[in-house]
Subunit: 546 residues, 2 copies
């Protein structure tokens, strides 16, 4: 049996017995077979010494049991690692940040505690998945939408705490930002409620975010300061109708004004739905989850794309013009009453008029809900607030360096929201792909578009070969250095890179990390809660400063 670090066999056995007394023997997991499920199947250090595996797992049924478990962990100094549904794929999955931790698996806590149609919010426990909530809303016939990432089997709370984003209206897409009100068990076993929920009689816990005094909700994001046992989320009222519209612009450098105009429209809330880039000329789609037939590419374009030194964009531009194919297309999802969608589309056309040759196609505005048969035909139902697992059917990477690709690990920098920065990022990722023969399309587009920033999430292939995985780790290290030089910081990463990335946030000799660690010492003096998560360590785990 694996032991947590610095814990004796006797103490560990005693702790496990105490855990079992709280949850029942059937909810304590110690066998290799059971613990296999808590490994990160996309681990880039699979089966290596650095892989962080659990020593046990325990699954409480409710928050009171969480309190008891945390107290026991303190008593025996057992590191515990809470997960919701453990689907943080590409960023660490269910595996703990410190090897030998006991995973606190919250999957049984899957109650939808409250849902309010009028105020459009829900309160959930960590085990509630997007599917669970979607199905519940359908059963009850509530006029509410969810905003889910793709795939949709993850937990609302887990996704929000990991910094996840979705695909519907702008104000609901940032999942942590769309939350309101947290209940958490602190590392000392004490339960608290944030915001208005700190008033025992509170009527506006999920309705007013700021609360009174400091706002501590942000401390629970990508951290190790407590176990979130309940969280409120604002939901989008189900819109009346839906459509997509496509804007095309002819030339490569038209990307710059296209992004500028879209930015202003989004800052003004005229554009509120998700939009994704694609390049009809090169056949590359930013919307990787779109599926459908592979696009036909002009043979002259294909020759340019095949250039081993990278495609010459001037040549591509000329070839696109000859072929009469626009270089860029921007597909936008739109929601609301039909007359509003049509007016928004007119405003978008007017604003895009600054780009010569821009063309516009508004698809049919359809009343919602769509017939089930039509939904079934769609590849990606996320923009309609319907969770799916279809993204797994894509599997574009089959092998790398002769090894089967089993998953991906993300390199996820945030870059300025300009065409210039997007082009710089695309050039960089293309060059890296050529240099390391990565099985990528010739261009990488932003994965998430925020009002004032782009997020690229570049999935690097993970195999079961230690040699190939070591190479991938080197590539990620190189990417992090390059990105940092450019001022692009990563927003999220897997445990293998927590420290590497935190080290880049070094302003004033790591002043931010030092404050985060002083807070850690204050709330978790024994360092039992997810030690090392996002590179935050309590006093007894930190190395002395040089």
């Amino acid at each position: 049996m694996k032991l947590p670090p610095n814990v004796s066999q006797a103490d560990f056995t005693a702790a496990l017995q105490a855990f079992a007394k709280v949850v029942g023997n059937e909810w304590l997991f110690t066998s290799d077979e059971d613990l296999e499920l808590y490994r990160d199947s996309y681990s880039v250090v699979w089966d290596e010494a650095e892989e962080r595996t659990a020593s046990a797992a325990v699954a409480p049924d409710n928050a009171d049991q969480v309190v008891e478990l945390v107290k026991i962990a303190n008593q025996y100094r057992i590191p515990i690692y809470p997960i919701s549904t453990g689907k943080n794929l590409g960023y660490g999955g269910a595996a703990p940040a410190t090897a030998g931790s006991v995973v606190l698996d919250l999957k049984r806590m899957n109650r939808i505690v409250e849902i309010d149609e009028k105020h459009a919010y829900v309160v959930v426990e960590p085990g509630v998945s997007y599917f669970d909530l979607y199905n519940y809303i359908q059963e009850k016939g509530l006029k509410l939408w969810i905003d889910c990432p793709s795939p949709g089997w993850g937990s609302l709370i887990g996704n929000a705490l990991d910094g996840g984003v979705g695909v519907t209206q702008a104000s609901y897409r940032g999942h942590f930002d769309a939350s309101c009100g947290i209940e958490a068990v602190m590392p000392n076993g004490r339960m608290l409620r944030t915001g208005m929920g700190a008033m025992p009689t509170a009527k506006t816990w999920q309705q007013f975010r700021p609360g009174y005094g400091p706002r501590i909700d942000g401390l629970f994001k990508q951290s190790n300061y407590g176990v979130v046992t309940k969280m409120g989320f604002w939901l989008m009222p189900a819109p009346e109708s839906y459509t997509t519209g496509v804007i095309t612009v002819p030339k490569y450098h038209d990307l710059i004004p296209l992004i500028d105009v879209m930015g202003r429209l989004e800052q003004s809330k005229i554009v509120q739905g998700l939009w994704m880039l694609s390049s009809p000329t090169t056949g590359v789609r930013g919307d990787a989850a779109h599926g459908g037939e592979a696009p036909k590419i002009d043979p002259a374009v294909q020759v340019i794309l095949n250039d081993p030194n990278g495609a010459d964009m001037n040549k591509l531009d000329a070839a696109a013009q000859t072929a009469g194919v626009p270089f860029w297309a921007c597909e936008l999802h739109m929601y609301g009453p039909k007359k509003l969608i049509e007016a928004q589309w007119e405003c978008i056309r007017d604003a895009m008029g600054v780009i010569p040759g821009a063309q516009f196609k508004l698809n049919e505005v359809r009343s919602l809900p769509l017939p089930a048969a039509d939904v079934a035909k769609m590849f990606d139902t996320g923009p309609l607030g319907i969770p799916s697992l279809r993204t797994f059917s894509l599997g574009p990477m089959v092998s790398y360096e002769g090894e089967d690709v089993v998953g991906h690990i993300f390199f996820s920098p945030v870059i300025p929201r300009t065409g210039e920065a997007a082009i710089e990022a695309m050039d960089l990722f293309s060059a890296m792909a050529r240099k390391y023969k990565l099985p990528y399309p010739p261009m990488q587009f932003p994965s998430a578009i925020f009002e004032r920033a782009f997020l690229f999430a570049v999935g690097l292939p993970v195999t079961r070969s230690a040699t190939v995985n070591a190479k991938i780790r080197d590539i990620i290290r190189e990417l992090v250095v390059t990105a940092t030089e450019r001022g692009w910081g990563e927003y999220r990463t897997a445990p293998a890179f927590y420290d590497l990335i935190m080290d880049t946030y070094s302003y004033n000799d790591h002043a931010l990390r030092d404050v985060l660690e002083s807070i850690k010492d204050a709330v978790d003096p024994n360092g039992i809660m997810s030690p090392g998560r996002y590179a935050i360590r309590s006093k007894n785990e930190r190395k002395p400063k040089a």
Copy 2:
């Protein structure tokens, strides 16, 4: 000379000398005359033992000087109290939370550090007022708006940190929520940057809020964890055109569906501008800053309103119908391209169709900017992003209990966003007004309308009479008790009530406050930063627990 608590005359003198060495003698203030300016002129404990006055004030020119001053404060254990422009009127003004503190007056730090039209953000120092920023934008001819509270002489940073709200588009109205990126000097004199700004090369500090790891920005709101020296704010792109629209509904209880429909429209982002209630029947306007002629009230209505037991709403309803005057009017500010405003208005009309007798008037949609002469005629220019001081010309309360009213102190509960709760609150405030003969109109309307909550900010009269002020304090205590019973928590208060209100946020034996105080101990072990602010105290200031 007044001394800070537990500081010797010798240490205080030495500290003041050290302060002066940093900022120059002319920026250290110790005379009674100078310190008078730091009193809270709206204090409800004016000239009483409980009034919290400063022992000195010091005004640094830049963040490096703040670092030096904070280090000196630590050395001599001097409590310091940072203010931006000190205009937090009705909530404490410039006066410190603990008597004898040295006010750290940041008014000289009034640089607009960076403004970016494309990404629509600004980085300011604490001394930058809404007027400063507005004037700067006009001079540079930038297509950006500010969102300012009324009056507009306050600081962007101060207002955001105090939890202030403005009056333009929904996503810019919550000033803390509209911020992105903080630079702060921590109580140990160390400077940090939050979010992406923790990367020294960062290109997206003001562009991406979540950052990497825990998000600590919220810790700087209504707190005492550091001195904010720079802060980024997202700005609204200047809209093309503007208008207002008015919806009227005939009956008292039509308020319930009116609020429900508006709520759904706001959650759906179809309504994005501010709206304010008024009651044409009773002549009461929620928009206190509107000015203009006093409305004419039907004589039969006036008789009912004069009932010493409070107006009978059924009778009022009947009288309104006889007089042919709608009970409620909802005035909405709207922005954007003309065709979008018109489409939004049609959507609003369609949605309000569920209320029999609802009527609609869309005023002329005017291109922006309006001619200066037209702006000059407007009473309240805030919804056009133009700061003013005109709210001071209203002065509706001239005397109370025979004493001159010199200002107001706010009681500011957050209540559920329903017509039922609004009616309950109005009834409560009317009853309190009658009971204590407060010089109020017969109804109080929400002061700020959020997507999922209402904020009432009820201004109680402040005089220079200790007797009358004591009565006002009793009324506030009574209101707090009553509100807490109903589950309504206050979002902000003046120093005299920091503890009273914090005590209402008592879930699980004050677990939230205990965490806030453990963070305080971690970041400010000497308790030198704004001790007592929002009832947060370091170990050496706290009373031992019972």
